[in-house]
Amino acid sequence: MAESQAPAAPAGSDGRAEPNHGLRIFLIWIVLALVADLLIWFVWYPHLPPGRMSESAEHQQLDIAVLALAAAPVMLFVWTYFGYTLVNWRHRDGDDDDGPPIFGHTGLQATWIGGTAVIVLAAFVFGTVELIVPAGAGAGEGPLPVWKPSGHNLLQVQVIGQQWQFTYRYPQFGGMESTTLVLPDNRPVEFHVTSLDVIHSFWAYLLAVKADANPNVDNVAYTTPKHTGGFTVRCSELCGIWHGAMFDSGRVTTPTAFQAWARATELREHQLGVLAALPPYALTYDPTVVPQLGQEVVKVAGITGANGYYYPPSDPEQP
C-alpha cells in the first residue's frame, strides 16, 4: 500500500548525482510484476473461480487468469510509481520553491496511449475468442444463439424460473419436470431459460452458466459438464422478497446413472398423471393461461405475482 509509507522517510539524494529514477522504477516494477504473474499463473490459477467442473468453467477460469496476468503488472506499475514518488519526492521543510514546470512529454504520452490501446485490444480479441470457442462461454444467448456447440447429442433442459424456485424440464424425456437439476457427464447441455413472472437469473456457479430468465423469452445457454459431483443453483437477479432464498442444488452424474434417473422420473410422473396435467412443452409459458384450470385462474390472487397485484382480472383483452 503505497500511501502507508511513514512520513519520515527522507530521500538522501541531495549531494549526490541525480539517480536514474526511470530505470529504478522499471527495475522494481519488473521484479514485482514477474513475481506476481508467476504467482498468479502457478499458485492462484488452479484455484480461481469458477473451478473446472464444466467446459465453460474451464474457459472462464482461464479467462480470469489471463486477465489477472495482464492486470497485475498494470496495477503494480501504478503502485510502484506512486510508492517511489512518495518515498523520493516529498516536500522538505524550508524548501518553498515549486517543482520543475513540466507540462507534458509527447513521446511519453504517445507511448502510454499506444500501450494501453494494445493491452485493451488484446483483451478484446482474447475475450471474443473465449466467448465464441466455448459456445457462448456459458452466458445466456437469447432465443437465437449465435454460437453453438458442435455435435448432435445435445441434452435439452428447460429452466423455468418463478417466484421463488427453479423447475427443470426435460423435453427429450417426455417433458418431465424435476425440482433438482441432474445432468450427465461429458454431454453438451442446451439450457432453455425462461420465467413465469419476473426476471430471474439462472446461475449454476460451478458449471459457469448464467442466463437471465425473462418472462416470454427463451434464453439459451450451453455448457458441457466435465466432472461428476454436486453444484448449487442460485438466482442472481433480484426477483422479489425471497430472492435470497431462491437456490437449490443439482448434480452431475455418469451418463448411465442419468439415463436411469431420467427414465424413472418420466415413468413415475406418467403414472401419477403429472405429465398429463402439465402444460405441453413450449419454449415459453403464459401462466395466466392454464387450460386445465379454466378461466378462474387469473382471478386467484398470487398466481402471477407476489401480491396478486400483477394485472389482476383487468387484462384488457381477457376480462
Binding site: 416470454n216 403464459d286 394485472y311 387484462d315 384488457p316 383483452e317
Partner: protein, 221 residues
C-alpha cells in the same frame, strides 16, 4: 442604490461595461440553451421512439397491435398535427416580419400561433379521454398512451413561453425594432426579447417536427 451618485464617472463606465458583458453573455446563453434544450428533448423523445420501434420489432406475443386492435382516431390526429404545424409556421412567419421591423405583425401571428397551439392541447386532451382502446391492450396502445401526454405537456409549456413573450413584447416600442433605440436600457430589453424569441422559435419548430414524426409513427406507419 443611493451610492450611485457618489461614484466617480469611471466606475459608471465600468458598470456599463460589465452590464454589457453580461448582457452579451445572456444573449449567447439563450442561443446555447435552446440548442441544449433541443438535445435533451431529442433524447427524451428518442426514448419514446425507441420504445415504439423496439416493441414493434419484438412484437411480443403477437400483440404489438393485438387481435382486437383499434387504430387511434385519424380525425383527432390530423387535427392536432395541422394545428401544431400551422402554429409553428405562422409563428415562424411572424418572426420574419419582426426581424424586418414589423412588431405588430409578429404580435398578430403570435396570438394566432398561441391560439392554435392551445387548441392542439385541448384537442389532444379530448382524444386521450376518448381513446378507442385500453392503454394496456397492446404494445402500440401502450406507447401511444405514453407519448401523447408528454407531447401535450411540451406543447403547453411552449405555449406558456409564447404567452410570456407576447406579454414581454407589449412595453417594447415598435420603433425600437426598426432602429437603434435611444438608450442602452431599451436596446438591451429589445435584444433580450429577440434572443428569447429566437430560442422559442427554434424549440417550437423542433416540437412541430417531433409532432410530425410521431404522427407518422402512430397514424401512418
Amino acid at each position: 442604490m443611493a451610492e450611485q451618485t457618489t461614484q466617480p464617472p469611471n466606475e459608471l463606465d465600468r458598470a456599463a461595461e460589465e452590464a454589457g458583458f453580461y448582457h452579451e453573455a445572456a444573449l449567447n446563453a439563450a442561443w446555447t440553451g435552446s440548442r441544449f434544450a433541443i438535445g435533451a428533448l431529442a433524447f427524451l423523445y428518442g426514448a419514446f421512439a425507441f420504445a415504439y420501434f423496439y416493441l414493434r420489432s419484438i412484437n411480443s406475443e403477437g400483440r404489438w397491435k393485438g387481435s382486437g386492435y383499434h387504430a387511434p382516431q385519424m380525425g383527432y390526429g390530423v387535427t392536432i398535427l395541422v394545428l401544431v404545424l400551422v402554429s409553428a409556421v405562422v409563428q415562424y412567419a411572424g418572426l420574419q416580419r419582426i426581424k424586418a421591423g414589423a412588431k405588430g405583425a409578429w404580435q398578430a401571428a403570435a396570438l394566432v400561433a398561441l391560439l392554435l397551439g392551445t387548441a392542439a392541447v385541448v384537442v389532444q386532451i379530448l382524444q386521450l379521454l376518448s381513446l378507442p382502446f385500453q392503454p394496456g391492450s397492446s404494445g402500440f396502445s401502450s406507447v401511444f398512451t405514453d407519448t401523447y401526454p408528454v407531447l401535450l405537456v411540451s406543447w403547453l409549456a411552449a405555449m406558456l413561453w409564447l404567452e410570456i413573450l407576447v406579454m414581454r413584447a407589449r412595453p417594447l416600442t415598435a420603433i425600437s425594432f426598426l432602429e437603434q433605440p435611444p438608450t442602452y436600457a431599451e436596446a438591451f430589453a429589445v435584444q433580450r426579447f429577440q434572443s428569447s424569441l429566437s430560442a422559442f422559435t427554434l424549440v417550437w419548430n423542433f416540437m412541430a417536427v417531433v409532432t410530425l414524426f410521431f404522427f407518422l409513427l402512430f397514424y401512418v406507419l
